[in-house]
Symmetry: C2
Subunit: 250 residues, 2 copies
């Protein structure tokens, strides 16, 4: 309807990488606002393109579909995660590395609270957009699972594949939980603080190999015992497990 007379977008803004980013964001903001005020189905791609001052055809050069318009470019974040995993220290707890990876996703949302919050109301309301979001989460989860599987296999973990899938899902779910809470708070709460707690829960649940030695004060030992074993055997095994500093019974 209302066409800005002197829209900068008329120029070949996409010529440079800088310009592409700019126009992409303009389109995203336009799409989000239109979806929010007129509804997702009622808004056509023409509307979005017009609001951004570009042609319909150009829209599809920036987004593969109408749904994609409101999402950030996950590919970049995915590359960052891959790089972090590639450079990660192999002596670090694999799950904590995975948490660090998914934190990059969290940061990408935190970097633009306004857009993120608005997008949330949309993904929370419009089914196609929610599905799209879920699909992208799944892509992250696959990357996590792949890294974890490799780590678990070299660590000689039994059922490495299963453990990796489950742990990746848990890490992703923890991230999603934190993100949701943060979004529902309107972007005001301390997401990283929540993330630390949430990740700790996941790490505790899946780090069967050794108890955390780095937290100085009060260590924890998890022992798995058969109740049919004699009490003497149990005591012997427990005390043996407690004594050595690094040797874990397996």
């Amino acid at each position: 309807m209302s066409v800005e007379p002197q829209q900068t977008g008329r120029r070949r803004v996409g010529r440079t990488t800088e310009g592409r980013r700019l126009l992409r964001r303009t389109l995203t903001v336009a799409a989000i606002d239109l979806f929010l005020e007129s509804g997702y189905e009622q808004t056509t791609v023409d509307d979005i393109a017009a609001a951004a001052g570009v042609g319909r055809r150009t829209f599809f050069r920036y987004f593969r579909s109408k749904e994609d318009a409101i999402f950030p470019s996950h590919d970049e974040v995915l590359r960052d995660i891959e790089r972090l995993f590639a450079e990660a220290d192999d002596r670090q707890n694999p799950i904590e590395v995975a948490c660090a990876g998914v934190t990059l996703v969290l940061d990408s949302y935190l970097s633009d609270p306004d857009v993120s919050v608005k997008r949330y109301t949309l993904t929370h309301t419009v089914a196609p957009l929610r599905d799209r979001e879920v699909a992208s989460v799944d892509r992250y989860q696959r990357v996590l699972a792949r890294y974890l599987r490799a780590r678990f296999e070299t660590d000689g973990q039994p059922l490495a594949d299963l453990r990796a899938s489950v742990a990746a899902a848990a890490v992703a779910a923890a991230h999603n939980h934190v993100l949701r809470r943060w979004l529902r708070s309107g972007g005001t709460e301390d997401a990283h603080a929540m993330a630390r707690k949430a990740f700790q829960l996941v790490v505790d649940a899946f780090s069967t190999e050794q108890p955390r030695r780095e937290t100085g004060d009060d260590e924890t030992v998890v022992a798995v015992l058969r109740s049919s074993a004699s009490l003497a055997e149990v005591v012997q095994q427990i005390s043996a497990s407690l004594r050595p500093a690094g040797g874990h019974p397996q």
Copy 2:
């Protein structure tokens, strides 16, 4: 192109619930076969409808979209899961109940190995179909999370919401892992046996409250102890935990 001269589908098969099921399945099989031999994009809805001997318009009365054509009706399974949760014994381990719920999904795949395996090659290959699959998994996961959250809250668990989301994701991931393995084996392996093992891993990871008492032969006790506690305290607590046969505290 080739129109069956005496296609039963010409009749109002959809009149009865029985008939609807039949035609729905006919359409699904037709879609799967066409997608496999001609490719997903190349196959039009007209092709599917024609192969099933019905009109294009009728196709959309059975499936909301072209992508949906190859999937079973998840709504029924979702209802079954909801019912199972509603009738579940509140003294059962919540996570085991969740596993039982997701086993219904597994069973729905197992009930038709041929279609399930073919569908897998499609969801594994075609991005839109994979996204669709992921979206339906997410719906299951939400139902699991809702149940677990309610259980955890009544159990007075701290961080019930987070725990529920993470545990639900883990259960779903375990299920997906088993399903994938079974599908990759062409539907030959013992899915339920794999599922038991996979679920056990998840239960072990998240059941901090009490060990399982129902598995008859050789029970397992997981004890979480502070290494700073005295050995006497540890022994006392262990023996106290081992003695009662069925009476677990909560």
